[in-house]
Amino acid sequence: MQQVIVALIVVAAGVFLGRQVWRAVASARSATRGGCDSGCGCAPTTSSRTGSDPLTL
């Protein structure tokens, strides 16, 4: 019985850690605006000025 409880705890901890790593990677992948423009090699994947701003003619 003890070993079953231990196994469950260890598996849960492993799943939790895996989820944390996945979330960190997903948060990086969902990156949008970093505020950088082209020129220094760090252009954002989606520009902050391409929305509904009428200034973007």
Binding site: Q2, I5, V6, V10, A28, G34, C36, S48, L57
Partner: protein, 722 residues
Amino acid sequence: VSTSFAPSPGGDSASQVEVRAIRVALVGNPNTGKSTLFNALTGLRQRVGNFAGVTVERVEGSMRGPGGERVTVVDVPGCYALSPASPDEEIALGVLRGTNGEPLPDVVVVVADALHLERNLYLVSQVLELGLPTVVALNQVDAAESAGVAVDAVALIHELGVPVIPTVATRGAGLDVLRRAMVSVLQQPVPSRPFTPPTEIADALTPLRDTLLQAGQAPALATHDALRLLSVPHLERWYGAAAHLIAPMVDEVRIAVAAAGYNPRSLEAELRYGWSSGVVSRTVVNHRAGARTTSDRIDAVVLHRIWGPVLFLLVMVLVFQGIFTWAQPLMDAVEWMVAQVGDAVGALLPPGDLRGLLVDGVIGGVGSVLVFLPQISLLFLCIGVLEDSGYMARAAYLMDRLMRRVGLHGKSFIPMISGFACAVPAIMSTRTIDERKDRLATIMVVPLMSCSARLPVYTLLIGAFVPPVAVLGGVFSLQSVVMLLMYLLGTVTALIVAAFFKRTLLKGPVRPMILEMPAYRWPNPRTLLQNVWHRAQMFLRRAGTVILSCSVVLWAMATYPRTTIPDGIDEARAHEMQLEHSALGHVGKVVEPLVRPLGYDWKIGVSIAASFAAREVFVSTMGTIYGVGEADETSMALRERLRTERDPATGGLRYSPLVALSLMVFYVYALMCISTVAVTVRETGGGALGWRWAGIQFVYMLALAYGAALLVYQGGRLLGYQ
């Protein structure tokens, strides 16, 4: 936005309007107390500080209006004008214009610093032109009064045509009136442009204004934007590929404006400051104009060419001395409590795997990290005092000359100092830096600043291997001096690496720094304690989640598979054999050849590998390994175990001060933090480019860590140390 207006016949003005939900944007110049006001209104605990650039993201909170309305308050980063130069200012503009997926706010509250009203009115004038219901919160009126500045709020209402509410957000003064004004302003006419440009200017702007109207621009914004465009240096930054469509027209208007005798680049600033200067002359009385303030007198010493840097160094030494010395009794208490809990749980449960998991894995692992809670709290308290007092901006000013030699300016030093707490918000705070290459160079070096997660590693190793003897005339202990040296090593290396980036990949001119010097003030104890409590909660949450999970998994790896121990072997050796034949032991043996040149054994090797999840996991892994490998069930402090650990092969001590120094140097440089990698990817633009910058950062820091640790260990051995 679900704001609806349902007239109620015969009712008073308040009951005539039924507002179900209101969206309020809090805007203002940096360091005017927006976040403090936001916290006071919503009951949230958004980070506040006495320097510009604390808030770099939009944050939402909610509150109830005086008539029970659901009010969503959006706190945005501070900005001096609606012509954003840096990413955080772009966020503010996006909220006000309802772009980038943001709903348009129903009400704008402009938080203006009563002490610096003339400068704050620049932004007020731009917000008024947006045509949104606006309230001006005249904040810090107490500080203004102390400085002999009296603002006539009624006269200001007449000048601006919108409600002006004097407030002291830190004390909650004026908030009830502000809450009412935030709702009642919806019934009032929207504000109009507070000043009229000269006729020749208005005529010159007409073609540009008409083009913007044809492009779908709202009439209220068209003149505003036409005026703004004249001073925008790089149109492509705003319009991208479409810049060439509008550029000829902007050039024509600039010529017309110049022909009328105005400088088109400074026209907007001249018009707005001309107006705000007039408003201030009619509404503000300064009883002590020209007098030297207390802040001026303090700055005479703090910003002195010689005494300033000396004081800065002294402050840093005091901080580390304090962290090491004052936290010790509390750390001893936590250590004792962890040991008691371990012993109690060990006595309660029958021998077996569950007891091993709880005592060695959970309590041994998490407990060894929890010991550092007092020290980390004290670090955040010290950083909070520096931030809240106004010293942080002075430190940036002091460092400006040095930073310019590196190729950055003093503004980059604020994220670097914030990096002493945590690299993640520090990297995000680089959004206040206007120049893209400077921003990127700062992001690349911020993780070299020793964050609070390194503190447990340094403290464990210093506590175990550096004697607590007095140095420098008996004032400071050797332990705190070694700790300070680790922080200095990271800081100096960050400057050198930044210089390298600014001369190679991120070459660019050094721009002058313009930084607002906030007035000195006594740190608010409530805010300080809230901040420390918040950080302590975050640390405990981390200990209870990531570190706990790592400890459990590593315990399992250190325990299984079970090996058959031959008869006649003493208990200590049997535990050591079990550990070596476990899954963790096998991984350790694979890692060991890589770390052996640095003076580390397999236990340190796997602890380093595990600490890629979080740096503190190094300590918890060592705690777990030594918990599993411990022959008896008594709980001995981890540093004692490290100090007395003997190599079974030679019988000599396994770890030496040289190994500890090599390990600390490794941790000064290594980027062992998934969250930092993720935030670097995000803040450098995301996608393949973001991953590329994060990859460069990770690899150069790991190479630096390995090389420096190798140099320390092998160099030390060559000099005769063991």
